[in-house]
Amino acid sequence: MVLPLGLAALAASAALLWWTGRPVAATAVAGAAGLVGGFLLGIILLRAVLSPGNGVIGVARAVVEEAVGTRLPLILLMLVVMGLPALPLVLDPTERLEYRMQFFLNWGLSGTGFLLAMVTLVLACGSVCGDIDTQRIHMTLVKPIERWQYLFGKWLGIVLLDLLLVGLAGLGIYAFTQALRRSPELDRADRRAVEQEVLAARSSTRPQHPQGDDFNKAIAAATARMEKDDPSSFAADPAGARRRIRSQQVLEWHTVRPDVVSSYLFTGLGRASRDSQPLQLRLKPFANNASIDRAEVRFAMWLNEKPFPMRDGKHEEFTFTSATFHTIALPSSVIADDGRLLVTIANRNLVPPGETEATSISFSPGKGLEVLARVGGFEANFLRAMVLAWAKLAMLAAAALAAAAWLGFPVAVLTGMMVYVSASARGFLADAIDIYTGLDAADASFTAMVRLRASLLLERLNKLELWDAAKTVSSSCADGFLALVPSFGAHDGVTQLATGRLISWADVGWGLLVLAVAYPLVLLAVGWFLLERRDLVNVSGS
């Protein structure tokens, strides 16, 4: 009764604010009313969906009721409602609209994701630990329900509730994005960037370096040379040496020497050509051997063998700063009918003092040379990002339930948070551990890494460097833990969305399979295993 009344009051306030000439505040209040109304409707829908069943469905319904009773989801929605309109206020209004929108999307989605993760952890741990502590679990388990069904039911209830919350928060973020889109831009280029590079889904196409026999033969020859010239370092890590040689070959293919004109073929751009959508060539050039920081890189470019760009009848050259990403806008007319684009680059670097030839130019393989073409709209991309966000919550809910199956509430929440932090910052933590122990694991294989750590440990023990030896042991444990946790960065929809890059259905499917199916299955199985062996009689009420 209170909620519908509150809802009506919010709607009336929004109307009043609008009528008194405060459209921004009115939109925020209307948004709040919309989200709360949506939540109430969603709960009704969930109850309807979960009403017929017993067993797993019954447990799921109980979780939903429990969550509604705690008001936690509502508090979360309120935080989202209050936080989203405040977010643009922290931004400099003289900043490019492109940047403000990207910032809003990034922090809006990440912040909401964080809040939802906290709610999920508290709900999951609170639900199971609360059942055990208050002995409610016995009332459930006396029914014909297995312990695995109990855990699965809890997970189902939480992920369904998460689905509702993700949907509602996503709706809010989408609405505010559209409102921000209408803000004044800095200049025409800014508006173009907003429409074509942020509120878009652009696929990335990269040139394929030569594969096949010739390439493999070149690698084999280089490997043989290394094995002959430096047998000891080759023997230490043959797989790593091969990988390094391969990387070197690929890098050489991405290098434009002063005496050679290099061409890179991008394929599959037919759709951009048909839809007359502009493209962006994104590159990160390096001036090789230049000792100057941020040296300039000069080159001339041809697109499908036509000089580009032409101004006043002259073929202009590009001058970019080394080791920095740059974007060149290309018209769709440059693409050939078969969707191919051949980018030819001639090195026009100056000859440095004391040298006889200009420095080479290289592009980092992968992201350092790519063509971005619009292949879809923002809305569908946004939807896919939300699906990925939900998948992460599904995994987190399973981890929290598994922890709650054998730990008390505070420790279980902390464990869940540790999983969340590790999954969110896995790459960063892995680097930090390597730096902490003085190892660079970037190129090392798993076995090589184990060998490296073991030899380092022995070496430190031999030298009686006990503190360093302890660091090696603890970092190995941390590495082991990280290896078990999935990387949210590998299924990152947020940065992709904010930078207007396509989140493909294949990525979403893979993300769902890993985060919402495989990990929950394993984690729930572990939780069930632990719960099965737990003496609930002696624990409950203690």
Binding site: V90, L91, D92, E95, R96, E98, Y99, Q102, F103, N106, D187, A189, R282, K284, R294, E296, T319, T321, T324, F325, H326, K367, F428, T495, A498, T499
Partner: protein, 645 residues
């Protein structure tokens, strides 16, 4: 048992004694730590903006964690080439570490260099440079007023990023800064002596800092404020800039050539009409309200103290605030003053600050005269030898400081020595001699040359043949090196000198400079190959050189036909070229130039007016284009007229 009975009271007694002692000594220790500047008051929220103080206090111990996360994120995004959060993240990081000056320095450098370098559009790039400047000037320095480092960082931003040439958009930055400052202060240096410039700026210094003070001092200013209010204007920075823009447009030479004499967009036309109609009120407006607004804008927007600016102008010469080096000197001076007042100076590299200041003064000598046209955004930075004296004074002060008991800190290298500054002084004297010869007066050039010879002697380079000959020989040889011209290619050298005279003299309306460049060219031509060895005409033939006036004509024609040079520049050259020269080449280039003018929408008669040479002008002009400039210069080119004839 007895031991137990006594242990507790003794322990308690010790505890109380230690606690009391700690309390008693704490305040003294704290005071001493502050006095010796051993602490950075990171947690001190005094003087911080409310949001920064709130964050600092609220996060408490977690501030370090938050800072780490934000740094890691900023670094990660930058590596990925995504800059959308750069500005906000740097604001957050500095808000979390407001008293740590290196953070401000790093973040500012990051915005102005790394991120700016990743953008292509000049305006966007300039935006990042401005953000870097603003971060230091508007936030970092006010929050760290005792940090010489931050002032130095800011000075170096002006010196290196805007005044320097390392960024390929540096001309855009120079033009933007010149526009910004000319809008605000007008052009108070062109054609003025140093004293006149200072007198003009004195009005800004003396102006009241607040409106209330203005009205209290000059009640009649109310009349001007009423006029503004009646025309929808407020007494603020926007107003003074709007008036500045209108004045700039009115005085633009390029606007006259282009026929664009209308007012710039955003001009409050009714207000201008009202000002023109009411002479008395307009006089009050420009005498009281405008200087007040200029004063206020300098203080509030640029965080600069007008009195300090004037003191620098009186000390160093006519600093033009449209020039980035002037700003650099302002902030560098502040850094030096603070550094000298610090007790602990080990971490400060005063030598670097002093060297940078000398370098800036040297740069002002090379390019301190600003010529800016707002219509075409053309900015020319011309030599101003008046700063030579300022450099020498500043050098002498630095040498005195080095010799003083306190000495000059050189960071990790200990204390600075006299020789640390002498190489720079030698470079300065080289440049000063050439510029004074070309742009200043002969006597000063000779004095500088004498000092250079003396210094070279002290540095053990006295036997260099370069210093053994005359001033003219030194200039003609050294200028090639300074301007990176190979003298062995005589024709190219002469062409380069003549072109330089055309571009630095005629294109800027300075015939004197044009003539002096020609004189250097003629001196080389004459000394090496002609009149100094009468009868050796064969050398000229071997070098395939024509007579000197013909060389001038050819170079002039070549410049006028240079399609890559803006037509407007060529129109200016044509306007300032001697009549005889124009008459001689007119048949070769005039028609083409007029056609090009028409094609670009210019009035050909205004851009390239026709001319008929009279016998009088012809004679004078021939003298000019032959290398003699009308000044007494018998020693330099005694046979010049003979050579030309």
């Amino acid at each position: 048992m007895n031991t137990d009975r006594f242990a507790t009271p003794v322990a308690l007694l010790l505890l109380v004694a230690c606690g009391g002692g700690a309390v008693w000594s704490a305040s003294a220790v704290q005071r001493q730590r502050r006095e010796l500047e051993l602490v950075e008051s990171i947690g001190d929220t005094e003087g911080m903006p409310p949001h920064v103080a709130l964050v600092t206090a609220a996060l408490g111990t977690f501030r370090g964690l938050a800072v780490d996360i934000l740094w890691a994120r900023a670094d990660h995004l930058q590596t990925e080439g995504e800059y959308f959060e750069a500005q906000t993240l740097s604001q957050w990081i500095t808000a979390l570490q407001p008293r740590f000056d290196r953070v401000w320095g790093f973040q500012s450098w990051n915005l102005a260099y790394n991120i700016a370098a990743a953008t292509q559009a000049p305006a966007e790039r300039w935006g990042w440079v401005q953000r870097g400047i603003s971060l230091l000037r508007d936030q970092g320095i006010p929050l760290n007023p005792r940090s010489p480092q931050l002032r130095m960082e800011l000075a170096l931003l002006f010196h290196h990023k805007i005044a320097g040439k390392s960024d390929r958009q540096h001309w855009f930055y120079k033009a933007r800064l010149a526009r910004e400052m000319q809008e605000l202060l007008g052009d108070i240096t062109t054609g003025q002596t140093a004293e006149q410039t200072a007198a003009l700026f004195q009005r800004v210094v003396d102006a009241p800092a607040t409106l209330a003070e203005l009205l209290a001092r000059t009640p009649q200013a109310q009349k001007a404020l009423d006029l503004l209010a009646a025309n929808g204007a407020k007494p603020d920075e926007q107003l003074v800039r709007m008036l500045g823009r209108a004045l700039m447009q009115a005085s633009s030479i390029d606007a006259r050539i282009l026929g664009e004499e209308k007012l710039p967009p955003g001009t409050n036309v009714p207000l201008l009409k009202a000002i023109r109609a009411d002479k008395e009120t307009s006089s009050i407006l420009f005498d009281t309200v405008v200087p007040h607004l200029q004063h206020r804008t300098l203080v509030e927007h640029y965080r600069m103290d007008p009195a300090r600016m004037l003191a620098l102008m009186e000390r160093y010469g006519p600093l033009d605030w449209r020039h980035a080096e002037s700003h650099g000197i302002y902030w560098m001076e502040g850094g030096i003053d603070i550094s000298r007042s610090l007790i602990e100076r080990e971490d400060v590299n005063e030598l670097m600050i002093i060297r940078s200041r000398l370098h800036m003064l040297s740069d002002l000598m090379r390019s301190g005269r600003v010529d800016f046209d707002p219509v075409t955004n053309r900015v020319d930075l011309l030599p101003d030898p008046r700063f030579a004296a300022a450099y020498e004074r500043s050098l002498q002060e630095a040498l005195d400081l080095i010799g003083s008991e306190q000495g000059v800190a050189a960071g990790e290298f200990g204390r600075a020595e006299e020789k640390d500054l002498l190489d720079g002084y030698e470079n300065f004297l080289n440049l000063a001699t050439i510029l004074e010869y070309l742009y200043g007066d002969q006597a000063r050039a000779r004095a500088s040359f004498a000092k250079l010879v003396d210094l070279a002697d002290r540095l053990g380079r006295g036997d260099d043949p370069l210093y053994a000959d005359t001033l003219e020989t030194f200039v003609s040889l050294r200028i090639a090196e300074v301007l990176a011209i190979d003298v062995s290619n005589l024709r190219q050298f002469l062409d380069a000198m003549i072109r330089r005279g055309i571009l630095e003299g005629l294109a800027r309306g300075d015939l004197k400079v044009f003539n002096r460049y020609l004189r250097v060219a003629h001196s080389t031509y004459d000394r090496r190959f002609a009149a100094s060895r009468p009868g050796t005409k064969f050398v000229l033939e071997e070098a395939q050189l024509q007579d000197f006036p013909k060389l001038v004509d050819n170079s002039f024609v070549s410049v006028m036909k240079q399609g890559s040079m803006p037509l407007l520049t060529r129109a200016r050259i044509w306007a300032w070229a001697p009549d005889a020269l124009r008459a001689r080449v007119s048949g070769e280039v005039a028609d083409t130039l007029r056609e090009q003018a028409e094609a670009e929408g210019l009035d050909p008669a205004r851009a390239f007016p026709a001319l008929e040479a009279t016998p009088e002008t012809k004679k004078a002009d021939q003298a000019a284009t032959s290398g003699a400039d009308g000044e007494k210069n018998d020693q330099a080119v005694p046979e010049a007229e003979e050579g030309v004839e």
